[in-house]
């Protein structure tokens, strides 16, 4: 796998994760600190199906979509909805997702222990890189992840702009109170956004082990990149999140690669520092992300008018 191919795969996955994070942020106004755990949940769905039933991870994508979606919906119904009902503020909700992340980490640890004893090999760390096939020199995971991204995007576009539910969804994103007055069931759109967020994260999680090793701390580490992607995109803009995913994924891969060719392999550790620098730079220059930039002005200024 070349650097460019690896970077593209990683960017596809980050875009999916950031898209989910942004969706729930728009509808529920809480940054979900458990998004990384949603992804690793998908990795374990794929691992289980592969090891126990011999189903190839690519074929487990639909299963992961449904199960991940259910996880997201359950999280919303059991944890967030009751808190919102009690009038909890943003910080309380954020702490709740932090607690949720810890619970999911614990459950994952227990599950990997049990699965490991069933299949007779440790499951706390795993990779699928040995499953990658090359079609004309192109790794198939690049094709699959790009296809997942395109299908997601087209599906989302269709849903948002061609269905009644999509109109309701967009309305409740823009102004929840007004759309509730107009008869939109805001509760249902919120729950749907959590379902979709969990489902997309879980699909990204299925493909993540093709690119990097899953370790117990993976969810905690990748959350930095997900937030970076989402913040670059303005945190409440779904297209911004996708663009942000590619910006962060590409720069993380290439900057780290360049640094490592100059300063040696020790620099590979600093990959997340790149994401962090992107967060800091975005917040200092344009806190509302790419969506907050007045592009017409920028273009006019750069062409000297």
């Amino acid at each position: 796998m070349s650097v460019l191919e690896g970077a593209l795969i990683y960017s596809n996955l980050l875009a999916l994760l950031a898209l989910g994070l942004t969706l729930t942020y728009i509808t529920t106004a809480v940054p979900n600190f458990a998004q990384g755990s949603f992804a690793v949940f998908g990795s374990y769905v794929a691992l289980t199906l592969w090891k126990l039933l011999g189903i190839h991870p690519y074929a487990s994508l639909p299963v992961a979509f449904v199960l991940g979606g259910l996880l997201g919906a359950v999280v919303y119904l059991v944890v967030l909805k009751p808190l919102i009902m009690r009038g909890a503020n943003v910080v309380t909700l954020m702490i709740a997702t932090l607690a949720l992340d810890l619970i999911l980490l614990g459950l994952r640890g227990i599950y990997s222990g049990i699965l490991g004893s069933v299949i007779g090999q440790p499951c706390e760390m795993f990779m699928f890189t040995y499953l990658v096939h090359y079609i004309d020199g192109i790794p198939d995971v690049l094709i699959v992840s790009t296809a997942v991204m395109i299908v997601t995007l087209v599906g989302l576009m269709f849903l948002l702009y061609r269905t009644k539910f999509g109109i309701a969804l967009r309305a409740s994103m823009e102004n929840p109170m007004l759309s509730e007055i107009m008869g939109v069931n805001v509760e249902r759109t919120r729950m749907f956004s959590w379902f979709l967020s969990g489902a997309l994260a879980s699909m990204a999680g299925v493909l993540l082990p093709f690119k990097q090793q899953i370790v117990p701390a993976t969810a905690e580490i990748i959350i930095v990149s997900i937030f970076a992607a989402s913040i670059v995109g303005g945190l409440s803009n779904i297209y911004g999140a996708i663009v942000g995913g590619y910006i962060v994924g590409m720069s993380e891969s290439f900057v780290t690669y360049l640094l490592s060719t100059v300063f040696g392999a020790g620099m590979l550790v600093y990959g997340k520092v790149v994401s962090l620098s992107i967060i800091v730079a975005t917040l200092l220059i344009t806190p509302k992300g790419l969506a907050g930039v007045n592009w017409r002005k920028v273009i006019g200024w750069s062409s000297g008018r």
Partner: protein, 339 residues
């Protein structure tokens, strides 16, 4: 076991009081609290040990050199207690100074922004630096770890733990007095005002950004003490275990303590720390027998995570104001009115 409870109680009182200053009073959701504890560890393992290696003329690289220099200092301290105390105080000073600077710098990118951005940025910064220290052996030794001298080698080893617990509790007491004093000043009331309504504070001509920076500076300086105390207790700094300086231990648990005891209330935080330390020790004591009773091939630490995660959710659901709710401020004019 009781000593264990008291030791962790002391450490958690310090770190939770500092978080209470930031979050309970100031309303800054510092999801990167673990960073300031890590800074304390870096102050000892990354800076002080390097200085000592230079002074003692040890040229061996950090991992091996630290154990050489630690051995020399430990045996020197056994004869000369004053040296040990000096090294300990030097570490505290370095840690507090660096902690203060790091605290102020660490909030800079997001100081003007809303709570959610603040929390994300602080968490991202802390998580990144924890990870870099975890993987890069040139900072504080990564998985090899850095040895730390026993600066209290003059205390007989049979009484060392008792002595160290007493020292920790004494430090916790000092921090309590300091935080209690600082929160009962006009500055403390300014913090509460900022938490309740930023716009009003701005309208009265206060700069939110500078108040937040000062608060984070003080809070991080205090929490860095914990990094030092923890280092001289374990006698080595091991960032290579993701538990040791990670988010769960030094960000999540302090939040749990504050919400359990009551945010914006220092006595509540002390009570919360005590309940948490006791509970933690009990879980630690029984978890292995629970796991072996379940006949499942799992590590006990996962059960602990689930338990404390669920406890946090239960607190948020049923008792968000904590065991001892925050009370109105008793200023001098109010006391006069009452009497």
């Amino acid at each position: 076991m009781i000593l264990n409870i008291l030791f962790w109680f002391g450490l958690y009182v310090i770190v939770s009081l500092s978080l209470n200053l930031e979050y309970g009073y100031g309303g800054i959701p510092n999801f990167g609290k673990a960073l300031s504890v890590l800074v304390g560890a870096v102050a000892v393992g990354g800076i002080l040990i390097r200085l000592l290696m230079a002074i003692y003329g040890v040229h061996q690289g950090l991992v091996i050199g630290s154990s050489t220099v630690s051995g020399e200092i430990t045996s020197a301290v056994a004869k000369n207690p004053l040296l040990g105390v000096e090294v300990f105080l030097a570490s505290l000073i370095i840690a507090v100074v660096i902690g203060t600077i790091v605290g102020a710098v660490f909030i800079l990118p997001s100081a003007r922004l809303r709570e959610d951005y603040l929390a994300i940025t602080l968490l991202a910064i802390a998580e990144t630096f924890t990870m870099v220290c975890y993987y890069d052996p040139t900072i504080i030794g990564s998985y090899y770890g850095v040895s730390v001298p026993n600066v209290f080698a003059f205390v007989p080893s049979s009484e060392f733990y008792q002595f160290y617990v007493a020292l920790t509790l004494f430090m916790a007491f000092l921090v309590y007095v300091f935080v209690e004093r600082i929160t009962n000043t006009p500055y403390g009331r300014l913090l509460r005002a900022m938490r309740e309504n930023e716009d009003v504070v701005k309208a009265y001509g206060r700069d939110i950004m500078s108040v937040r920076m000062k608060t984070m500076a003080v809070g991080s300086g205090i929490a860095a003490i914990v990094g030092v105390l923890y280092a001289y207790y374990t006698l080595e700094i091991q960032p290579g275990s993701f538990m040791n300086y990670g988010r769960t231990l030094w960000t999540f648990f302090p939040f749990l303590i504050i919400l359990l005891g009551g945010a914006g209330n220092n006595r509540g935080v002390v009570l919360g720390s005590f309940i948490f330390a006791t509970l933690w020790e009990l879980v630690d004591f029984y978890k292995n027998s629970i796991v072996s009773a379940l006949h499942l091939p799992i590590e006990a630490v996962w059960l602990e995570y689930i338990l404390f995660g669920v406890l946090m959710l239960l607190i948020l659901f049923y008792k968000p104001e904590g065991l001892i709710p925050e009370r109105p401020i008793e200023t001098e004019p109010m006391k006069r009115l009452k009497s």
